[in-house]
């Protein structure tokens, strides 16, 4: 088949408005769809992001105190609670915590290597707990040691204490001290007191899952602190394998047996990690669905635009099609003409779209510290838009191919 590419391009130059509008629509759709697909994929990938927690066996109790008490009383109660929890037959370990991985939100501090450094090196999520924290989460200590019981300090409400020892994640250790050898090194994350790294865990997710903190993902530190907030505390509990349900049932009873002066919400006061993960990624799921809908709507609008323009052109060129048929064009020549015409417009659109897609992604990388988009998304987008164009053109082009050659003899 001798595709009339040059004559089609010549003819399109004389129909600039429609051609440029559709090409621009395709370009914008491609730019948006590529980036949306990238975000959708990233969001969906988040749903299965490693938390560093032994999720099948760990649950969290949100314990609120019914009345404010002095720090010493709170700490005594917390220690008694933890002892009760650890003694439950279904429980392997339990730890107090200011927050937990995938909690949503959380505590972040800026990190420097010297106390007077004006530009922080990075940002780190902050966990406070005791020497049971790592075992309770099921996190992996890959270097150094765990906290000793005597290193654990108590911090009351409104207090600010920086413990001299700290355990950090591999990601934070590498950020602060590239090339390894972070153990024994010190840094500043709160005030002017340094903390010395005694252990490294890997991985351990931050409390938050927001994409805007993606550059800091995996950067977290653990201080040996029992933060005895007068309002409440999280108890993280690790059940023995296969005994999660029993542990979740027995744990609140054990706590209430210690003291009734607390509130554990019967609805969501005790949550396993399946529920925690589902809840924290709710916005990711919602965003993925929203982006998917936007993509579908955009693609539908673009397809409708192509169908509309092609149908208009077919109607406008009915006589011309008849002439071409009279001069020897077969039905498939007419079909090929319109498909080729659309391909050329779409090709121009996707070329511009590729530039826009990459530029938009670079903007999000610099503005929001998102990841660089893989060119595979652009490739998929290009393929989708080209196929969409051909698909949208097919029906009107088929109608065009069925125009009788006798149209050539009809007066306009």
């Amino acid at each position: 088949m001798n595709l009339p590419i040059r004559p089609i391009l010549v003819a399109l130059r004389r129909h600039k408005a429609g051609t440029v509008l559709i090409a621009l629509q395709i370009a914008l759709t491609l730019a948006i769809v590529c980036n949306a697909l990238f975000i959708i994929h990233a969001r969906l990938a988040n749903l299965s992001e490693a938390s560093g927690v032994d999720e099948p066996n760990v649950f969290v109790i949100k314990n609120q105190w019914a009345a404010e008490r002095p720090t010493a009383q709170v700490d005594a109660q917390v220690q008694a609670d933890l002892l009760a929890l650890r003694q439950l037959p279904a429980v392997r370990d339990a730890a107090p915590a200011s927050g937990y991985p995938l909690q949503g939100g959380g505590w972040d501090n800026l990190v420097t290597l010297t106390p007077d450094q004006t530009h922080p090196i990075t940002d780190s999520a902050v966990y406070t707990s005791d020497e049971h924290f790592i075992d309770t989460l099921g996190a992996r200590l890959v270097a150094g040691r765990n906290f000793r019981p005597d290193e654990v300090m108590v911090m009351g409400t409104q207090q600010s204490i920086t413990p001299p020892t700290v355990i950090v994640t591999r990601a934070l250790a590498d950020k602060l001290f590239p090339g390894g050898h972070a153990l024994g090194k010190s840094f500043y994350a709160m005030g002017t007191t340094p903390s010395t790294i005694v252990g490294i865990v890997d991985p351990l997710h931050r409390q938050g899952v927001s994409q805007w903190n993606k550059a800091y993902a995996g950067q977290a530190l653990i201080w040996p602190l029992r933060a005895d907030d007068a309002r409440g505390i999280f108890y993280i509990v690790r059940a023995k394998p296969g005994q999660l349900a029993a542990a979740m049932r027995e744990a609140p009873k054990a706590l209430y047996a210690q003291s009734r002066m607390r509130i554990i919400d019967p609805k969501d006061g005790v949550q396993d990690y399946a529920a925690i993960r589902h809840k924290v990624y709710d916005s990711d799921r919602g965003m993925a669905i929203l982006m998917g809908i936007i993509c579908a709507v955009l693609l539908a609008i673009t397809a409708a635009g192509i169908v509309g323009l092609t149908s208009f052109w077919v109607g406008q060129r009915r006589k011309q099609i008849g002439v071409r048929r009279a001069l020897g064009a077969r039905q498939r020549d007419i079909l090929a003409y319109f498909l080729t015409e659309n391909f050329l417009i779409s090709a121009a659109g996707v070329l511009l779209g590729v530039v826009l897609a990459v530029a938009f992604n670079l903007w999000t990388v610099t503005r929001f510290e998102l990841d660089r988009m893989s060119l595979a998304y652009v490739g998929v987008g290009v393929l989708v838009l080209l196929l969409l164009g051909q698909g949208a053109t097919f029906a009107p082009a088929l109608r065009a191919s069925r125009v009788s050659p006798v149209e050539a003899t009809r007066s306009v």
Binding site: V10, V323, G328, P405
Partner: protein, 239 residues
């Protein structure tokens, strides 16, 4: 070259059947220049569209260059139109978005001809109609006569065996019409078979033979008094 025997063309609706051609017989020999005349609605254009394989017929036989065409599929009909027939339309039917060169190229592309041969044929055809220097012009930039010459060049470029002209001077003034007619005569002298539909007796008189259609049938002028006078008037005008 073109032989129709007992050919009929019927347009059917739910309530009525209209015969556009009825028991239609015509035999055009190779190299003939035949004018087909008749009043409006007599079936001239229907004859031409069937002769040019632009539409099908209802009954009878049609042999074109020795081929019985009634059972050909669309592709085969397109191929014959492309290779054996050249069309000249009253309204020129040039493609407004294409320049003269590209317009003449249209049928050659559908033949799958290579670019160098296409270019040679296009320039030869444009040379023949005296418009080689205008090959970059668009139809809107040409006069009616020039547009019709481009259309003739388009019809000639494919070296067709049969040239079908539908009122080729119908949209032209006298001077331009004369020029186009002289060109057709020249083409005929070079050996082409031409069938020209016209309602203009003066134009018809320039052809070798006249065929008259009335009510969808070929009629013999010598025995039909309705057309006798018109025939004589045309002959005298060119006498």
């Amino acid at each position: 070259m073109l032989k129709m025997t007992h050919l009929s063309k019927v347009y059917r609706t739910e309530v009525v059947e209209t015969y556009a051609l009825r028991d239609f017989n015509i035999d055009v020999k190779e190299g003939e220049f035949v004018a087909v005349t008749g009043p409006s609605g007599s079936g001239k254009t229907t004859f031409l569209t069937i002769a040019g394989l632009l539409e099908t017929f209802t009954g009878g036989e049609y042999h074109l260059d020795g081929i019985e065409v009634s059972n050909l599929n669309d592709n085969a009909r397109s191929k014959i139109r492309n290779e054996k027939i050249g069309f000249i339309f009253q309204a020129f039917n040039l493609i407004p978005d294409l320049n003269v060169f590209d317009n003449v190229e249209v049928p050659l592309r559908y033949r799958g001809m290579k670019a160098p041969e296409r270019k040679q044929r296009i320039m030869d055809a444009l040379e023949r109609v005296g418009l080689a220097s205008r090959y970059k012009h668009y139809p809107a930039e040409l006069s009616g006569g020039q547009q019709q010459r481009v259309a003739i060049a388009r019809a000639l470029a494919g070296s067709p065996r049969l040239l079908l002209a539908d009122e080729p001077t119908g949209n032209l003034d006298t001077q331009m019409a004369r020029g186009v007619l002289e060109l057709l005569e020249e083409i005929h002298r070079d050996g082409a078979t031409i069938v020209m539909v016209t309602h203009d007796p003066e134009l018809a008189a320039r052809a070798q033979r006249n065929v008259h259609i009335i009510d969808g049938q070929v009629v013999d002028l010598s025995v039909d008094p309705r057309f006798h006078a018109a025939h004589h008037a045309a002959s005298e005008a060119h006498g």
